[in-house]
């Protein structure tokens, strides 16, 4: 049995004391070299969970082990060499060029007073090639389309050379073609040995690439397991609180929501 890369046990979290918990007894394991989708409706606590995994917020109780060591025992810098983040969206107030922006992903390997060197530039360029946008290198960030910006954010996380990549709703504001490009990249990353964990409220995005699912609703994990055993009508309907059917189209599971609108 391979050792899990992330072990999450009994995580509890609330934003303010005395308030209802946003996360309740959340437990699951992530195996290295897999793609896991954290799937659930809006407000299920998916983004909060990502923040806890990054060490941005501390859980009330429970533990997060990265390679059997609590993430609190890693320094900020060490942790950022392990785990990269592609945020849901990012407001960029200044006109960085794409290359300058991707270069910021090298920060985990630089001291506070260092400037990125030629080696960092080379890695940033490789990251751009990996997501297929090397031609955008000199373009200012504010001029990019939504799909292009998403790829830039992924490239920045790749320049970070993480072993675990977290993506918060990577496909939610993309059109179908850009969504598929993004998912294709995730698949490629898995083949290169990166462990991928992404949140989504779109079951289809998860069924296309994920090996494993974590189904969440109202701060609780409803079901976890492989795609085959977890991506079922009954489990999805329970998670979303609405009737969802899983049907097979060309051998791929596809969802239909059949609730009649009033």
């Amino acid at each position: 049995m391979i050792q899990p890369i992330l072990t999450i046990t009994d995580l509890e979290f609330s934003y303010e004391a005395n308030q209802k918990n946003v996360l309740n007894a959340v437990s699951f394991e992530i195996q290295p070299g897999t793609i896991t989708a954290i799937l659930g409706p809006n407000g299920a606590g998916k983004t909060t969970l990502i923040h806890l995994l990054l060490g941005l917020r501390k859980p009330l109780s429970g533990s997060i082990l990265l390679k059997n060591k609590p993430i609190g025992q890693y320094s900020r810098k060490e942790l950022s060499q392990w785990i990269g983040l592609v945020p849901q969206s990012e407001y960029v107030p200044f006109e960085y060029s794409v290359l300058e922006y991707v270069l910021l992903g090298r920060a985990p390997y630089l001291n506070p007073l260092d400037l990125p060197g030629p080696f960092d530039v080379q890695i940033a360029r490789e990251a751009l090639i990996q997501v297929g946008i090397e031609h955008l290198e000199k373009r200012p960030i504010p001029e990019l389309s939504g799909g292009e910006l998403q790829l830039v954010l992924i490239a920045r996380a790749l320049a970070q050379k993480p072993k675990v990549l977290l993506l918060d709703e990577p496909t939610s504001h993309l059109d179908l073609s850009n969504r598929n490009i993004t998912l294709q990249i995730l698949n490629q990353l898995r083949l290169n040995g990166v462990t991928v964990l992404f949140t989504t409220h779109d079951p289809e995005a998860s069924s296309l690439v994920a090996n494993n699912l974590v189904l969440m609703r109202q701060g609780k994990v409803m079901h976890t397991g492989s795609l085959e055993t977890t991506f079922t009508s009954q489990k999805l309907s329970e998670t979303y609180g609405t009737r969802i059917d899983v049907i097979q189209v060309d051998g791929l599971p596809v969802v239909r929501s059949l609730e009649k609108l009033q």
């Binding site: 950022s80 990269g84 200044f94 006109e95 300058e100 400037l115």
Partner: protein, 296 residues
């Protein structure tokens, strides 16, 4: 000026070394500090419209100076100390009020608190002006508020120099890092930045250099707001590039403006008027002219 005059004429020596040189160097400090602090704060607050004195610092300094002029007298060092004290007080008020605000991100909270504290001090300043003796104290206050370096001597320079030098060195060394802090907490943290610690350091340094130069020069507007913009227009948004350019242009610009303030008419024109006027004109030219960028 021929150099042998400087070697032989004692009056010329005194003029240059006791009056002009400290003034020139303080103009340099003033311009470099305000434009560095402005650039840093615009990045930290992720807002290009921020200027270095907005967290209650500028208005606090003005209030402190007026208070001193009315109740303690017009000795320059006394005014500077009082102005610095209230500038720092302005920042502390803003900071602690921001911590008590129960909504919004920290950027919004600090900006709101800064606005409130600035308004508070500017109301206080209004009251002080009303109380001031209109023949002696009021002109003194008004002139101080308009900003200027005519009274600067060596002690003033030594007063600001340590803070300015240390502050500028820290900002210069951390200039690439600053980019990361402009990304927002979530991303910056995921890139290994200890956001709170590094942000507090850079913010503290920026406020400190602003407070000391404002306490000596009075309220000199626009430098901290527009010089960073000009620098960004020239070399792009990457703070590793634009911060040094901003500091250099800021220093040169302040010296130029101070020279104009000193020589344009028989009497001194307040520096703040020149910086605003020139700054606004240059800014507009830069904004409306296409392709004013050296890089890219």
């Amino acid at each position: 000026m021929p150099f042998d005059v400087l070697l032989n004429d004692e009056l010329a020596q005194r003029l240059v070394f006791s009056l002009r040189l400290p003034r020139l160097l303080s103009a340099l400090c003033l311009g470099m500090s305000l434009s560095a602090a402005g650039g840093v704060m615009q990045m930290l607050f992720r807002n290009p419209l921020v200027e270095p004195g907005f967290l209650g610092v500028t208005q606090g300094a003005g209030f402190g100076a007026a208070l001193c002029i009315i109740f303690l007298g017009t000795s320059p060092l006394l005014i500077e100390t009082s102005a610095t004290l209230f500038a720092v007080l302005g920042l502390l008020f803003s900071y602690f009020i921001a911590r008590r605000i129960r909504f919004g991100g920290w950027v919004l909270r600090l900006i709101l608190a800064g606005i409130a504290v600035s308004a508070f001090f500017s109301a206080g300043l209004g009251i002080l002006k009303y109380l001031a003796d209109p023949t002696s104290q009021l002109p003194e206050i008004t002139f101080w508020l308009l900003g200027g370096l005519w009274s600067v001597t060596w002690p003033d320079l030594f007063y600001i120099l340590p803070v300015v030098v240390i502050g500028l060195v820290i900002i210069y060394l951390m200039r690439w890092r600053l980019n990361l802090l402009s990304l927002g907490d979530e991303t910056a943290t995921s890139l290994g930045v200890s956001v709170k610690r590094e942000r507090t350091l850079l913010l503290g340094v920026s406020v400190a250099i602003t407070a000391v130069v404002v306490s000596v020069a009075g309220i000199v507007g626009w430098i901290g707001l527009i010089i960073p913009h000009i620098a960004r227009r020239l070399v792009g948004a990457n703070s590793a590039n634009f911060i040094p350019v901003s500091i250099s242009i800021g220093g040169a610009f302040a010296i130029l403006c101070d020279n104009i303030a000193r020589t344009l008419s028989a009497g001194e024109i307040p520096l703040g008027i020149i910086t605003s006027l020139l700054g606004a004109v240059i800014f507009l030219i830069l904004m409306v002219s296409p392709g004013m960028r050296l890089q890219r």
